[in-house]
């Protein structure tokens, strides 16, 4: 085993990649059937999700097993860091696309529709808008009620996560556990409030470009918070099982980076979607 830590760990044959491909095939095939009202679509899709969940559980489980068996040396650890870092960058670019759409419609296309005066001579460019063909009025989302509270919650969760990290670095396991539990609790509270906000909202995803950009941006953010909360929960279970020490805790750090990334996205959402 000491020999393993000298060399870069290279895993042997693995079927997980093929299973990942099967999962995505079922999900994509099922989803296209579902969208086009072909009966078994929904079930194919669900089967895909189940295979994916099984895959993630088992593949990550295998990696964790390899990690605690000390197969990974410093260089492998560095690979994981590079990998996670650039994965988060790709996520940043994903959100960048939707923010780009928001800025473009607010500053370019909505004023153009008003200026053109061709199809809708009475349309005045304002934001928020449901578009020139909208017939019903709607109440946009204000910034200073729930969204402001949610901002505080997410910022606080960033702080509690750092508190947990300090605990890990100083080998204070209790501080680590408490910090993690607090972070997860704050994350779940955020999601709960976000669901409440959706339920009470005075508009839907079909409310023109405002509804589309609002729900797409906050929805994908909420999805990421959900993923982050699940990841944090897994980290919590690993902490309770005694994983991680002050030198060896990439899994914890990766999830922490992800959580902070989700935090920063929210700040942009709060400013550009809710506030301005």
């Amino acid at each position: 085993m000491s020999q393993d830590t000298k060399n870069y760990y290279l895993p042997g044959a693995s079927l997980w990649p093929l299973i990942a491909s099967i999962a995505l095939f079922l999900m994509a095939g099922g989803f296209s059937m579902f969208l086009n009202k072909i009966a078994p679509g929904k079930y194919v899709m669900i089967a895909g999700f189940i295979v994916l969940a099984y895959l993630l559980y088992s593949w990550f489980g295998e990696v964790i097993k390899e990690s605690i068996s000390k197969f990974y040396n410093k260089q492998v650890d560095k690979s994981f860091r590079w990998g996670m870092g650039w994965f988060i960058f790709s996520e940043v670019m994903f959100f960048f696309g939707f923010f780009g759409a928001l800025f473009y419609t607010r500053n370019v296309s909505v004023p153009w529709i008003a200026d053109a005066q061709l199809l809708w001579p009475n349309f005045v460019a304002t934001w928020p808008t449901a578009g020139p063909a909208a017939t019903e009025a709607f109440t946009p989302m204000g910034a200073w009620g729930l969204p402001a509270i949610n901002t505080l919650i997410l910022l606080a969760s960033g702080a509690t996560l750092t508190y947990a990290h300090w605990g890990l670095m100083k080998d204070k396991r209790k501080q680590l556990t408490v910090g993690l539990i607090l972070t997860i609790a704050l994350g779940v509270t955020f999601l709960f409030l976000q669901a409440h906000e959706y339920a009470e909202a005075g508009f839907t995803i079909k409310t023109g470009i405002y509804g589309a950009t609002f729900y797409m941006l906050t929805g994908f953010h909420g999805l990421h918070v959900t993923m982050g909360a699940i990841m944090l929960t897994i980290i919590l279970f690993r902490v309770l099982k005694g994983h991680f020490d002050s030198h060896n805790h990439f899994g914890f750090e990766a999830v922490a980076w992800y959580w902070h990334f989700v935090d920063v996205v929210w700040l942009f959402l709060f400013i550009f979607v809710y506030w301005l």
Binding site: N7, Y8, L10, P11, G12, A13, S14, L15, W16, P17, L18, A20, S21, L24, F25, A28, G29, F31, S32, L35, N36, S58, E62, E66, S69, F71, Q75, S79, W82, G83, W86, F87, F89, S90, M93, F96, G97, F98, G100, A101, Y104, T105, S109, V110, W112, I113, T129, A130, G131, P132, A133, A134, I205, K206, G208, I209, G211, A212, T213, M216
Partner: protein
């Protein structure tokens, strides 16, 4: 499936045999081989569609396919050539060559590497089977502009989801390549000592992780507009169909450099070998590649000069596009300067590389012509554009891939390919390519629109010439297949370094490269 310690140790000495060797592979060479064969299969498939297109255009009037079917052919030809043939071929090269060139034992994440490959299969199945669903395959062009794409049938959903899966594959693959290059180089190989092919792939990987997520965003907006009532691309709801074009081309223009930068890397490797001189201006090549990559994110709207933009925007995108010709010119200059006073020999890889320098430059120049705003307004959606992007994508990317295959085949198979047949393949390809696409400059300038199955009579001669060239071009690729298979099955034994002038770590290992190489990092100067 689950890796025990024992299995892990066994794998270092042998490898699984039979189908499991490929399906469950964690070996960069096997995965590279699978990428290359997948790519070649897709190349022939999409090439067959091109034959269909040219058969229809052989004469004016409608002969073989309905207009709708013609549109399906052009759309799938584009989508599959780009995402199924060119991109996987380069990833295949990256898999084979990057670890060998930097002295790494494998890719940084071998299992994810295999996942990147196996995700191509469901995407290909979705794209190909979309031909058979009600309404037929997508017919709105590979760019999938709304509103056509919002109203298209089920095949559009399948294509969107196929592209999502391909995006996942590309992002995972790119992260793997970036990590491998930064973290697994042999001691002593500093960044500025890396082979140029590795540099071009590093920069390409950055383009991929920056551009593919934006495509995912565009596709997601498209699918919600189609099925969930959003108004991103619907002016009645305050959206704008042109928004899709902006988001798409923000991905799309980096995408075209994703398909050419590794080609630059390949010919920057081949030319010094057969000119028997070091690459001229290595550092400037690195900086030029980085400059092209950076500029690729600020030129996207030159694809949209006729779809509505303020003049200030049009001028910005015209000038930023023209700027790209400077770093590209640096590269062409350096290739020519590398050959200057070299002891040149013209084996097949070198022939392909010289042809790429010459023909890609023609494509670059026609790109410069198209960048000129008032000219582009005339030429938008004519065959001039078709000529331009086939000169950069076929005689740039695809021919560099062919040259690269001939160059590294001895290393991959342990045999020399048949030089005579290789040269035949080269000359047939090059001549047929030019016969096919050069006349399109003329028909395009004369105003023949692209993506239309019929044309007016004055274009008949040029189209017949193009079609004859295309059939010859298609048939010559079967010769390529034959040469490659012949080389795999036998031929003169190749030395560790079969090329007199080749340098680099990949030539220090035996040919064929053993299953595991550089298990302990090699010494690098």
């Amino acid at each position: 499936m689950s890796t025990t310690t024992a299995a892990h140790h066994d794998d270092h000495h042998g490898h699984p045999t039979g189908i499991m060797r490929w399906v469950a592979s964690t070996n960069h060479k096997d995965i590279g081989t699978m990428y290359l064969w997948f790519s070649f299969t897709m190349f022939l498939f999409a090439g067959a569609m091109a034959m269909g297109i040219r058969a229809e255009l052989f004469q004016p009037g409608l002969q073989f396919v309905e207009p709708e079917q013609f549109n399906r052919l052009t759309t799938l030809h584009g989508l599959i050539m780009i995402f199924g043939a060119i991109m996987p071929a380069f990833v295949g090269f990256a898999n084979w060559q990057v670890p060998l060139m930097i002295g790494a034992p494998d890719m940084a994440f071998p299992r994810l590497n295999n996942m990147s490959f196996w995700l191509l299969i469901p995407a290909a199945i979705l794209l190909v089977t979309s031909i058979f669903v009600p309404g037929g395959a997508v017919a709105g062009g590979w760019t999938m502009y709304p509103p056509l794409s919002v109203h298209a049938g089920m095949s559009m959903d399948m294509s969107i989801l196929a592209l999502h899966i391909l995006g996942v594959s590309s992002i995972v693959g790119s992260i793997n390549i970036i990590t491998t290059i930064f973290n697994m180089r042999a001691p002593g190989m500093t960044l500025m000592k890396m082979p140029l092919f590795v540099w071009t792939w590093l920069i390409t990987a950055y383009l991929l992780i920056a551009a593919m997520p934006v495509l995912a965003g565009a596709l997601t907006m498209l699918i919600t507009d189609r099925h969930f009532g959003t108004s991103f691309f619907n002016a009645a709801g305050g959206g704008d169909p042109v928004l899709f074009q902006h988001v798409f081309w923000f991905f799309g223009h980096p995408e075209v450099y994703i398909m050419i930068l590794p080609a630059f890397g390949i010919i920057s490797t081949i030319i010094p070998t057969f000119a028997r001189k070091p690459l001229f201006g290595y550092a400037s090549m690195v900086y030029a590649t980085a400059a092209i990559a950076a500029l690729s994110f600020v030129v996207w709207a030159h694809h949209m000069f006729t779809t509505g933009m303020p003049v200030a925007g049009q001028l910005f995108f015209m000038y930023s596009t023209m700027l790209i010709s400077i770093p590209t010119g640096v590269k062409v200059f350096n290739w020519v300067a590398t050959m200057w006073k070299g002891s040149m020999t013209f084996e097949t890889p070198m022939l392909f590389s010289v042809a790429v320098v010459f023909l890609f430059t023609i494509g670059g120049f026609s790109g410069l012509v198209l960048a000129i705003l008032p000219v582009d307004i005339q030429l938008q959606d004519t065959y001039y554009v078709v000529a331009h992007f086939h000169y950069v994508l076929f005689s740039g990317a695809a021919m560099a891939i062919m040259g690269g295959v001939y160059y590294w085949l001895p290393k991959w198979t342990g045999h020399m390919y048949d030089e005579t047949l290789g040269k035949w393949h080269f000359w047939l390809t090059t001549i047929a390519f030019n016969v096919t696409f050069f006349p399109m400059h003329f028909t395009g300038l004369a105003g023949m629109p692209r993506r239309i199955p019929d044309y007016s009579l004055q274009f008949a001669e040029f189209n017949m010439i193009s079609s004859l060239g295309a059939f010859a071009l298609g048939l010559s690729q079967l010769l390529f297949l034959y040469v490659v298979i012949k080389c795999i099955r036998g031929g003169a034994k190749a030395n560790a370094n079969p090329w007199e002038g080749a340098h680099g770590l990949e030539w220090t290992v035996p040919s064929p490269a053993p299953f595991h190489t550089f298990e302990t990092p090699p010494a690098f100067k």
